[in-house]
């Protein structure tokens, strides 16, 4: 199995502060990684280093040759001063076949809004348009930075379901920053808990028991995760190996 991205011991400093310290992450084929951590913990910086926005000060990032990445950024609030349709936005800077656009639009449920102006969309529609754009290149890896941040609860549920569907159907890997761990837990096979350094990482239910996780997020979050995981285990009869 080939690793898509392998980052070893990367460190990034900005204005004398260490944003990332000795972080190592491996994204394998058909992995689903969720990065969690408090605000300002360096989550966005980690994603941006992994996809090549920034070079880490030290450490190595190796990528699979010919890796195609679809990126869904954190904030997207197009201004009403720019008149542009969804279709035109999807086609900006690329020549994509009509059939591909139609297929992706169908997949993400934006067929009916293709001719609408971009600034007119609801938050959920906007995120699905961004997701659609990231899929046009048929990527190996989807990188999403808090994609459901500004959605209401049903919007969040819908969006994460869509990501799970794409993850399963396209066999892509997913690397996502998200605070809504309880919503993506079913698919997530690795949680990375980041606070400038990797506090803990592993399967969700193991991370929930980690003392560092509890000290960062509090007992409530850990209990909630554990509770969710418990019922989840019962329904699906997963055989996670608990090493303890």
């Amino acid at each position: 199995m080939v690793n898509l991205i392998q980052a070893s011991n990367i460190t990034v400093s900005r204005q004398g502060n260490k944003i990332l310290e000795n972080v190592s992450v491996v994204v394998g084929e058909h992995d689903f990684l969720t990065v969690i951590g408090p605000n300002g913990a360096g989550k966005s910086m980690l994603l941006k280093c992994l996809i090549g926005f920034y070079m880490p000060d030290t450490g190595k990032i190796r990528k699979m040759a010919g890796l195609r990445v679809g990126y869904v950024p954190q904030n997207f609030s197009p201004e009403h001063t720019m008149p542009i349709s969804v279709k035109r936005f999807l086609g900006l800077r690329r020549k994509t076949e009509k059939a591909v656009v139609e297929k992706v639009a169908e997949e993400t449920g934006i067929v009916t809004i293709l001719d609408q102006p971009l600034f007119n969309l609801s938050g959920g529609e906007r995120q699905r348009v961004l997701l659609a754009r990231s899929l046009l290149d048929n990527p190996h890896l989807l990188v999403l930075d808090e994609p459901a941040q500004n959605l209401d609860i049903s919007g969040q549920l819908g969006f994460y379901k869509l990501i799970e569907k794409i993850y399963k159907e396209r066999k892509v890997s997913v690397l996502m920053v998200s605070h809504d761990l309880h919503l993506v837990m079913a698919s997530t096979n690795e949680v990375i808990c980041l606070f400038h350094h990797v506090c803990c990482s592993g399967e969700p239910q193991l991370v929930a028991k980690d003392p560092e996780f509890i000290s960062l997020f509090g007992k409530d979050m850990a209990t909630m995760m554990a509770a969710y995981q418990h019922s989840h285990d019962h329904v699906h009869h997963h055989n996670h190996s608990h090493e303890s």
Partner: protein, 275 residues
Amino acid sequence: MIMFITIIIAMNLEPFLINAILAGFAVAVITGVMGCFVVWRRMAYFGDSLAHSALLGVALGLAVGIAVNVGIILICSVFALLLLWLQQKKVLATDTLLGILAHSALSLGMVTISVMGQRIDLHSILFGDILTVTRPELWWIYIGGAIVLIMLLMNWSSLVLMTLQEDLAQAEGIRVFLCNLLLMFLMTLVVAVSIRSVGILLISSLLIIPAATARQLARSPEGMAIIASFFGVTSVGLGIYFSFVLDTPSGPTIVASAASLFTLLTIYLQVNKKK
């Protein structure tokens, strides 16, 4: 088009009027396209400040004895870089910085001109005097304008995407920092080529008003640029005509025409919407 031809014939093809029309239309097309980015990226205050600082450029040109346009480009570039550098420091908000830089440069320019004791037509620098544009100045406008338009068109999709979402643009390999620098530099060119027509105080209105008028009709970014240029050209045509007939200063007359078009269209659209 027919209207403009009639104007030219009516004015007996006076050479200074032909120069004025050739200059004005070119400036209108350039500011129409650039103006879209000014409106999209909220650069209105930046453009205004840049234009104010151009007075120091005029003073420099006169003092050192280089072409005034070169002085303007030099000073405006320094202004833009200084602003970028101060923004990085994150001590003061951008509008505060712009206010400090713009008015310092304007005052410094004014003081320099006074100290030199040069007799220059300040009125024409502040409000423009399109009816006295000369052939060499026309060349400036066309070459500078061509650079602006070509650079904008070559990078059009990248600039539009960057305006919508910078991170997305960067993820797709666009060098966002360079594009920002490019836009700043193109703005200095636009200021340099437009000063003769509308003057330092009114350049930003020629950037904003046609684009804002076009926004109400356009359905695509390109459409907005084309319609903005059309409104700009119409405003300049009307402005030159009335400036000639009523003997009013050209810059304010052009801007008043643009403002009238904007007002009429806005009222028309509002009335028709309610029906």
